[in-house]
Amino acid sequence: MNGLALFWRRYRRNRGAVAGAATLALVVVAALVGPLLYPVDPFDMVGRPSQPPFGRFPLGTDVAGRDVLAGILNGARISLVIGILASLAATLLGVLVGAIAGYYGGRIDDMLMRVTEFFLTIPSFVLAVVVVAIFQPTVMTVTCAIAIVSWPSVARLARGEFIAQRDREYVKGCRAIGMPDWEIILLQIMPNALPPVIVVSSLMVATAILTESGLSFLGLGDPNLVSWGYMIGVARTVLRTAWWMAAIPGAMILVTVLAINLVGEGLNDALNPKLRRR
Amino acid sequence: MTAPMPPVLAVEGLSVEFRTARGVVRAVDDLSFTIGEGETVAIVGESGSGKSTAAMAMLRLIADPPGRIVAGSIRLDGQELLTLDDASLRRVRGRQIAMIFQDPMMALNPIYTIERQIGEVLRLHLGVGRAEAFAQTVELLRLVGVPAPEDRARQYPHNLSGGMRQRVMIAMALACRPRLLIADEPTTALDVTVQAQVLELIQELKTRLGMAVLLITHDLGVVAETAHRVIVMYTGGKVEEATAGQLFADPRHPYTQGLLQAAKWEESDGVELREIPGTVPSPFAMPTGCSFAPRCAAVVPRCQTDRPALTEILPGRPVRCFVAQGAAR
């Protein structure tokens, strides 16, 4: 049986993970083709403000008479793009730090782990807020801010994996034939250390989406783009009269984050069968 | 001849199964035996033969799932344990039947003091107060030969050596003067020098307190020194039973003979651990005939097809072997 089939067989056993994958696929499709099939500018005033859903507009209009459905579809893009990019950046940085610390050990390890622990203690959301506020909110700065506060957990995990691998026979063999360190790290150990890292970084996409929504709720989102958190922030003022306006984008965040978490657990079952939760 | 004393423990037809992902494992199969007052009965057998499972079943400590007692009867002083309700069962556990385990480090709770762990039994079953429990704990520790018992009582398991910890376990088991003590490989995790001391202690206390003892071990040296009667187990079932004297002088089952032979080798060269050739069959692929047949030197054709019953070849000497029964044909 080839690897992919085995992977799918293990993954499939977790029913929640299958449901999560299906839901996530829907969100991804909505983000990719939604704005094309429903080409309404989310910033356009299209009608009377605060219309309820299922009227002239499928999901109603917001306080400024903008189409909520258009916002939801465009917001899906922002959430996924920032979530995935931030997680990727954090994974790259975290794996780099963790690999070096774990492979070399000793003083380098001590130093890098001090820095990592330090970043774990700083209140991450406050740091993200300050970074975005200083550098002005754009997709780029928000992504970077989230990556900066997310990499330490990956670094710790990757370090553990590298420590577990570095004294194995095959690594000793590579060293004996004079293979350079970077080659051993990247080509020999990395493939073995990657499965748990993949699980953590997939779960990190969910955390990143939550953080992004929190930032844009506080007004720290890219002002040229509509995001779910921003929509909730706008709807806040009319909570008393139009609660659904805040409910809809929040439910989208919930569903997306839940789906990603379920997928992450499925990946864990499929990639690390030995580490299965009981 | 005097009338036979009623046994303290009478086990009949006990079977225990585990449901695993690969299928059902019958870990104990139709096991029967008795233990009389003041008697030490040993169960021996290779790893995986079901000794611990049988011992755990005595107190219904088999985790369900995956395990389940599927048949049999266990009577303590005539009272059936398998049908007891939870509350009554708890009054038997720790009070009438007590248990000590292989590794005292694992068996003691790391974050409670010795005093707390022994006192707990006293308070639960004897209803004594805190101060009285402490006083009795110190007495118990003194009884099992723990030096400076007042100080030790206030310490944690990690402060004690392996031998001391096992003494603590014994003190805990003896706290309520149980009718039966079950010891599952009580010395395996200990240093050789300490092993003898702990065994001696169990023997001495047995005599002093008049308990019955069920000793589980795969060390035949231990059996020779301590047991009155021996039960030999293989793949979950009893294959032979005899008094210790008879068993060592005149083993009848080829498996027992193999065990004794292996023990002799071990004694003579000491270094290399000799074993009976071949391996225990997988519980998922049991042979149709005698389960020992694939490893047996005395095997005859019938062994491959029929399963021998446990029959007495002499009074009080049941053996599960066609050859020994003289029924090879």
Binding site: F118, L120, T121, I122, P123, S124, F125, V126, L127, A128, V129, V130, A133, I134, A206, S213, G214, F217, L218, G219, L220, G229, I232, R236, L239, R240, A246, A247, G250, L254, V257, L258, N261, L262, R278 | M56, L59, D86, R90, V92, R93, G94, R95, A98, M99, F101, D103, M106, L108, N109, P110, I111, Y112, T113, E120, V121, L124, Y156, H158, M169
Partner: protein, 326 residues
Amino acid sequence: MRQASLLFLVRRLVQVVPVVLAIAAVNFFLLRMAPGDVADILAGQMGHATLEFTQQLRREFGLDQPVYMQFFYYIGKLLTLDLGRSHLQQAPVIDLILDRLPATVILMLTSILIAIAVGIVLGVAAARREGRLADTLVSVTALVVYATPAFWLGLMLIVLFSIQLDLLPSGGMYQIGAGRTGLAHALDVAKHLVLPSVTLGLFYVAIYTRLMRASMLEVYGLEFITTARAKGLSETTIAWTHALRNALLPVVTLAGVQFGHLLGGSILVETVFAWPGLGRLVFDALLQRDLNLLLGILFVSSVVVVFANLAVDLIYGLLDPRIVHK
């Protein structure tokens, strides 16, 4: 024993020093990254500050001096708790923060206590019924709550409990102008505290429930649990004494790590409920682009988290006798 613990405490306190220095360094770095120079920012960058004041600050901070000297000046200022002024509020940053800190601490402590208590009860209950309906229900609920943005949950709770049912106040810390004192005031605050603390706490209830459940199941696999059963203890006693005490250890460790995260959540929740704590201060600072105030909040909250972690370490030492404070 006691002396060893005291020594440990001193040692840990000494270890805190470099961490606080590092926090200061990060702040200094961010300060230099911000548009305008340090003096501009410290004086309030929107130009409300007078030119002389800015000049004076420049001299004070030695902006003509090399960077590392500027850093030392900065550290010196921090040591005297001088975090500069907020142009918006026309007050020293440290005063503003200390003014708001208690409200945040009250909210955080209430939330974390709710989370730990409920998380323990649900986690233990789920573990004892592993694989059964109750366990599945608890686990699924925890998974859903874990995916819920806290600030949105807060809004939805306002809709339900304040707007629809009119049971609880939707914001603030006490009814302004009611002039209550003593017990009546405390009750009023408690009433205002319910929704924000539940909102902030629920996420952590989910976390602790999942953790507690996993930790309990692990402990249930250990041999001393079998010993406890063999002693005749009831399942309830075993769960709440032998198993729980051991299962708590990894959970306590995590509570320390969670503190910084909790503070972030508190910022969002305070914004939702107009709770007069640091979170509101962040929101106001953001509206006014008051970077100096933001940096001050980052510094103070980081220090608070460092000390909270220290406290957790000490609690862990009390729970686990195997930890020897050498």
